[in-house]
Amino acid sequence: MSRFIFFCLLLTSFTCWAGNRVDNDGPKPDSIINLKEVAIVSSSLHSLNTSSFQLTLPSKLISKSSGLSLQELLGANTSLAINQYGNGGLSTVSIRGAGSGHTAVLWNGISLQSPMNGGVNFSLIPAILLDEVAISHGGQGSLYGSGSVGGTIQLNTLADVPHGMGVTFVFNAGSFSNYFSGLKLNFGSLKYALSLRTFWQDAKNNFEYLNYAKYGHPIEKLQHNTLTQYGALASFLYKITNNQQLTLRAWGQFHNKDLPPLMTSEISKQNEKNSDLRLSADWTGNHDQIQWTLQSAFVSNKNHFVDSISLTDAVNLGKTLQNRAELTWFFIPQHRIVFQLLHLMEQGESDNYSNDITRHRISFMAGYRFAPENGKYSLAASGREEMVEGNFKQPTFSAGGSLRLVRYLDFQANISKSYRIPTLNDLYWAVWGNPDLKPENGLNQDIGLHFNRKADVFSSELNLSVFNNDVTNWIIWIPEGSIWTPKNIRKVHGRGLESKTALKYNISNNWSIDLSGSYQYTKTTQAGDKDALAYDKQLIYIPKHKVAVNASIGYKEIQLNYSFRYTGKRYIDELNIEKPLPSYSLNDLSLISDFSINNSKLSIKLSVNNLFDIDYQSVAWYPMPGRNYLISLIWSYNNFNNLTH
């Protein structure tokens, strides 16, 4: 194993991510990504983020993956630990060994975490609706609030459109009757920008597999795994003055999924339907010394689960109203202070609650950053105090900075506290809930090195960090008499190493090579009582080793991509005595060819996923597909700058 790790480190030490927003990917398939406004990296909070391990997916990659879900996009391009309950099923993300509810997920600054269970299903977020995806490792409660314990994933849908119009049509057809189609329409004028995106997906996901969990090891076709989903996202931007703008966004989608039986089971009659609505209005001002944002958003998720065998028919409706005011003041050149006032009203309706629940949360955040123009160092610190239903919770803070050691090489260090307010289920589940629960607390420290050298011919980037993450008051449900109840009893100690590297070589005007890779070592164990049976045992479903390598060769408008991902063994029981889920490696190959005529462009992508037909499981006894194929067509017509009013 050690030789393998060494190999991975070596490999990752000369390859890289296009790890920041400075795009050098050549012509863009979609003009809206050229815009800088409302961008994650320039957002006032993100400027205070001192995590030594951050990752931004290239916008070109996101637009080329328009027919995929966020789970597929992250799975193919990062080394995040993603657990997926079968093809198309629920998928959750763990960062730095924390739990699935410990990743804050923000869409244009709005929290998408369910107020009822704290979760986000990454299979339910289509990439076509996104323009930016940024991942920050390490919880920073002071910046991103409750839930950012392991890390934060920020998703942005940009509303600005240049002067003109554009149309993009996406069509995917894949194995197992998987069809996706999507449409993007963009109109921009001097004053207004309007963007509309819609999608529709229908998949049977009925692949054949060898069922070695059953007597006689039959070859079976997975049944009852159909997925249908559709939705739309509209955004409207109005430039009130030269330095003020109003943005409205509306995102609605419906998802209907049959849940397949486990490999050991004969039948399933479970079905899940999700209806999501996300509305947001923000008003931003950008003046010489002051930037401000006022935002109001409404998020609702209705989950309807039916199991006709266990006679379950459950509807859970979670709603949040989020109001946010943010101010950045550049009071002296290179010095800025940032304030945020956040109000959340969370509501939950469920048969499991004795009545409908409403909870108010207000938090105030203040931060400071100093970054001299020479880029030799930077410092940032922030703090947040949250009040839940009138009760003040423990304040959180973070501090960190970077120091240029030599040209291109920065040293980064960060310490931050994090927290997670108990979910409505934890607190208010009829009889079983525990209203006395405290927030979970985390303390994250990391140091890292960041090498970044960009040039026309040869660019390279290397990021290496080590982290330590202690989580206390971790809430778990335990039996107490004849009921189950949640308690703040678990302590978890996570530590590890993260590395990513990228290399880009423009050999000639026609030829280019991209290599990128990442490796993560995550040891996350139960701490606290040394006599407990599970003490020092790795948490379930968190692999110690994760590797991702992507390589591509480009010739003119043709690109050949190869992706390799390794997931180490994962324990599936708390005591680590059961045989763990075996490690697996997935290999994907894709060929992209772009054809441009005047203002229109056709991009054809042929992909072979799981090239070597590997049998693997992400979550125990949920079968995953073997070798499968996908053809993706993206046609776009852009006529910007010509349209005049």
């Binding site: 070695y212 969990a213 490999m263 089971s265 048969d351 004849s482 599970a534 005591l575 125990a620 006894w621």
Partner: protein, 365 residues
């Protein structure tokens, strides 16, 4: 690593061979007085619902040890989701996987896989029938009992019964089924004619009958779990039906006596001593204690024989030793406790996740 695994497997095989050697009949022995002896017991560990981590454990009296994870070790595949019960019939073991909708069949004593019975919905318990067939109770949208041919492992007939059928018992040419209520409520036992394979009548008993036992007079007793419904707003009790024990008339038409157990507490299992003069009730989620019931005087001993909450329990059919199981959580292993017939703890052992039922293995010597 491979070596270690091999060594482990070999050790397991040897252990299994010694474990089950006692079950083999010694053909050379003199046909003297036969003595029934319990060599050990199986424990069904149901695992966590929605996972495939149920397993089978075996306790061996001669070794005084428990071997866990038997099915996967021997057959190199998982057993399934929610192992509800096990029934030994002939030289086969029938393992009922409730949420996997199947019954795994294993050879005994090797525990090697021998087939699977499918075409079921939420199976719970098995009872062997006089004609060489078995009956399976199933929680379906409507409760059913399916009759299965053990040679072809196929369903011969599914007979509609009451809601949430649980344990069954054979009396003469009839099969009695405890309609346990499932996710709702029922208060009957179904009487099935084994010739026509039809339900001939229902007998009204206490609410949610779960389990049967026969006393030394041949009288059938049924344990009713009782029934509580709560107001979802105030969580106050709306309906409250007590748990009880009732005797069934010998012509299987009516209840002859009912003894109330309690309003607020609800035992799941009914067991008997080897001489059938004492019945025991207890076990199930959140029920505290194992209590004695005297069927001839129809009286309950108010102080529990063992004052502990067990997920399941059983009585050794030879020694009257009591075995209880504990499921502290459905993520960590449970425990097996052995008690003398006076309720004194002898020893405890680690089990699999959610140990719920115990099946004794007896031999004639």
């Amino acid at each position: 690593m491979i070596f270690r695994r091999l060594l482990y497997k070999t050790a397991l095989l040897i252990a299994a061979a010694t474990l089950f050697h006692a079950c083999d009949k010694d053909d050379d022995s003199e046909p003297t007085v036969t003595v029934t002896k319990a060599t050990g017991f199986y424990v069904t560990n149901e695992g966590a619902y929605g996972n495939s981590n149920s397993e089978l454990s075996f306790y061996n009296y001669s070794e005084n040890s428990v071997t866990n994870n038997l099915f996967k070790s021997i057959n190199n595949r998982p057993l399934g989701d929610v192992l509800q019960s096990m029934t030994i019939f002939g030289n086969k073991g029938y393992l009922v996987l409730n949420n996997s909708a199947k019954i795994e069949v294993v050879k005994l004593p090797s525990l090697k896989e021998a087939g699977a019975i499918t075409g079921l919905v939420a199976p719970r318990y098995i009872t062997s029938l006089p004609n060489g067939k078995i009956a399976v109770s199933e929680w379906n949208s409507q409760g059913t009992v399916s009759i299965i041919d053990t040679n072809t492992l196929s369903v011969i007939k599914s007979i509609p019964v009451g809601t949430g059928p649980e344990k069954m018992i054979v009396k003469g040419n009839y099969l009695l089924v405890a309609n346990g209520g499932g996710y709702t409520v029922d208060s009957t036992i179904s009487v099935i004619d084994l010739n026509s394979l039809t339900e001939v009548r229902k007998i009204k008993v206490g609410y949610n009958p779960k389990d049967f036992e026969v006393d030394n007079n041949g009288t059938i007793w049924v344990l009713s779990y009782g029934y509580v419904t709560y107001d979802m707003i105030t969580w106050e009790t709306i309906h409250l039906k007590p748990s009880s024990i009732s005797s069934i008339s010998s012509d299987l038409t009516s209840v002859t006596a009912t003894v109330k157990i309690a309003d607020q507490t609800h035992p799941q299992y009914l067991e008997s001593s080897s001489d059938k003069k004492t019945l025991y009730y207890g076990g199930g989620y959140g029920f505290q204690g194992i209590f004695k019931f005297n069927p001839s005087t129809k009286t309950i001993e108010n102080t529990p024989l063992i004052d502990k909450a067990f997920y399941g329990f059983a009585v050794n059919p030879v020694t009257n030793e009591i075995v209880g199981t504990e499921a502290p959580s459905f993520t960590l292993p449970g425990k097996i406790y052995r008690y003398s017939n006076t309720g004194v703890e002898i020893a405890n052992y680690s089990a699999g996740i959610g140990p719920n039922n115990i099946v004794f293995v007896t031999v004639q010597e």
